[in-house]
């Protein structure tokens, strides 16, 4: 057992923290909320230059071959600074899916371009059916000679409006088990018949309605196997969930730090707010929640990275605990800031609003707890 990060990883963390603090301040976060694209191409380029896009890819694809826990570190720091943009879609979701389940040709084609920052990708899974489960996949892909033809509507799809390529989760076969008959396609976002319309969300995080009308995709663009794509989804979402959890930990710690500093500074009734025991208890509880989530997430992430069977349950646990704790911590943070914390101009709100977005990713607590209940034998 070794619960320390390596020196190289510690350096990565410091570098990421410094870089993001400088390059992604809250003014930029606010601008990008209103920005049509939702990301900064300059920043994107710089991140690629730092090697972040290819962090966990093999060197032959332009990556730096660090392990999954290094990506976790990066995500923690991104969460602390609320980095907007398609890093999560491109690298965490699509990058991991191709890395774990793509063919050599696909890896060569896409990982290399991701690593260089040349393409943005979008993970196109959820639908109006309102679930991250396999049962929600209804958008059909039907074989037609050497192609498949995709028709239907996807919803809540991050960054589809700026994506060059998409990984689209489709239904290719009906059947008793919804997990069967799911197939994933690499789809050129410029294909005729695709429209992507960003929806206003509480986090302004560019979730799109994506419509597919007779969109043709070559058979060769399947990731994983025909009808067996759900395995790829599961594997990808395990990793992505831990990245979302640790991103949230970063955000939570940021709000704890920010609130702690504020109450030490803000004087009412002749003493700092920090001197009020009730506020101290709120802070103590916030710290407990943040810390337990961090530790649980590290373990779950390590298991997911190692491909261990226990990852499935532990990741669901971490994500569910995140849903409970992120909201709690930012809610208290706003409350302790008082009225100023409820304004659009204050940073607390940026975090507060993102807690809802994070909750919606990869399963809410009811969904996850039902999974956990099964896993613990119920």
């Amino acid at each position: 057992m070794n619960l320390d990060f390596t020196e190289e990883q510690d350096m990565l963390r410091t570098a990421a923290k410094d870089f993001l603090t400088t390059e992604c301040d809250k003014t930029m976060v606010r601008q990008l909320e209103e920005d049509e694209k939702g990301y900064s191409p300059e920043l994107w380029k710089k991140m690629a230059d730092l090697g972040w896009m290819g962090l966990i890819f093999p060197e032959k694809y332009g990556g730096t071959e660090m392990d999954f826990m290094s990506l976790i570190i990066l995500c923690e720091e991104m969460g602390r600074n609320i980095l907007p943009g398609p890093f999560f879609s491109t690298v965490v979701l699509c990058g991991n899916a191709i890395l774990d389940s793509g063919t050599d040709v696909q890896k060569d084609e896409y990982l290399t371009k991701i690593a260089s920052g040349d393409i943005i990708m979008s993970w196109v899974q959820t639908e109006p059916t309102n679930t991250w489960g396999a049962g929600g996949i209804e958008v059909k892909a039907v074989a037609d000679k050497d192609d498949f033809v995709i028709n239907g509507t996807k919803l809540f799809v991050a960054d589809a409006h700026v994506a060059d390529w998409m990984i689209v989760v489709t239904r290719t076969k009906g059947g008793a088990k919804p997990e069967d008959g799911v197939t994933l396609f690499l789809v050129d976002a410029k294909s005729p018949g695709i429209t992507a319309i960003p929806q206003p969300t509480v986090g302004m995080d560019k979730l799109c309605e994506v419509n597919f009308k007779d969109v043709k995709v070559p058979k060769g663009n399947i990731i994983g196997k025909l009808d067996k794509g759900w395995e790829v989804v599961e594997k990808t979402l395990l990793k992505a969930s831990t990245c979302k959890c640790i991103e949230s930990v970063g955000a939570m710690q940021a709000t704890v730090d920010m609130t702690n500093a504020y109450i030490k500074d803000r004087v009412q009734y002749g003493r700092p707010l920090a001197a009020f025991q009730v506020l101290q208890f709120d802070m103590a509880n916030a710290l407990i929640k943040t810390t337990t989530l961090r530790e649980l997430t590290y373990r779950a992430a390590w298991e997911a990275g190692e491909g261990l069977p226990e990852a499935a349950t532990d990741v669901a646990m971490a994500k569910s605990w995140m849903n409970d704790t992120f909201y709690w911590v930012v809610e208290r943070g706003v409350q302790l800031h008082g009225a100023i914390g409820t304004t659009r101009d204050h940073d607390m709100g940026l975090y507060y609003r993102r807690s809802k977005c994070a909750e919606c990713q990869f399963g809410d607590s009811d969904f996850l707890k039902e999974k956990i209940a099964k896993d613990i034998g119920l």
Binding site: T126, P128, T129, N130, T131, G133, G135, G136, L155, F156, Q199, P200, T201, V202, G203, L207, E209, V267, Q268, Y269, F276, V278, L279, Y327, E331, V334, Q335, G338, A339, G341, T342, T343, R344, D345, H346, G349, Y352, R353, K356, C357, E359, C360, D364, D366
Partner: protein, 401 residues
Amino acid sequence: MDFKWTPEQEAMKKDFDDFFEEAMKGKPAAWVGGLEDMFSEEGFPFTKMVCSKLADKGWLVGHYPKEYGGSGWSILEQLIRAEAAGYHHAPTGDIFGIGMCGPTLIVVGTEEQKKEHLPPICRGERYWCQGWSEPNAGSDLAALTTRAVRDGDDYIINGQKTWNSGAHIADWAFMLARTDPETKRSRGISYFLVDMKSPGITVVPLISMDGSHLYNETYYDDVRVPARNMVGEENQGWAVTRMTMNFERSGVGGFAGNMADIKELVQFCKETKWNGKTLAENPLIRSRLAQLAIETEAGRALAYRIAWLQETGGMEAIATTAWMASSGKVYGSELSQRVAAIAEQIFGLYGQLIKGSKWAPFSGKYIAAHQMSMGGNIAAGTSEIQRNMIAWTGLGLPRTI
């Protein structure tokens, strides 16, 4: 003990209900019914229109004495109106003029002040805002530093106020300024009525987390206020302030609003099918909505008690029930927050969509309400201040501040 309304009150209830049912048909999209909506660009004309109709019927400010334009209602009739309005999330004018400034004037205002201000309030023609908090005087209101200096028949006011709900639409403000800078804290403060059109007043919007505009900063730059606009004695404004804070806090409207929300959500759950089952079949959702209904009724029962005690105990009861009013406030605002949070949760992935997305349930009303609810736990005395008050005045525990 008897919880029945009289036949007259039952009839009144129905009249109110019919009125609001009809009036609210024209409400703007995603209307939550908080002050944010009432004072928004889109909402304020609607608010004025509804309030004007209410005033025509004598229902806007029914509980003021008839001589000043009220209908002489008892607190119980007021309760019935508040409950009906709350249930329909209807605008009922500004809580500041009607609920705080007006009642204060009735008790301690001069006859001239009453005659000048109460009738336009009752007619829904004059909107008020509160000018109390300052950047360094929030919960600790007595730390305020805005100055008022006597100059002939006027006072000249200088300073900055903040969190002034509706200052951008208000005609008048009731505000606090320090008239004796030598004495400390709560002594030396006076209570003024200020025309918001006075030269030297600048209102700067403070936009809320969800993008709505309720709060403002108000800058006073040599604002001249006639001395007759002082309420109570010079330097005695703190006592007036305490009184103002305690009026009309049964909170029944909020609980009625929750009832309507729960009803709306129940209907949604019955009609909405995801993954092959209606939401209404989900035992977790059933349990949560039932819990909200329970907590709403428990709060409503408390609100009735507060109204009853104020009805039978008069002005004195306002002080002795202050801890109950604080209880109702903190209980109610935290419950409203849970209602919105649970609605969002029920919507699943749709819960994150806001106004402007065609996919947003109820046009994003609940997620907006959720964000606004944060302010509900802070405005008009934070939940912490309310719990302090309950401990000190309801339980006789020592003051910690």
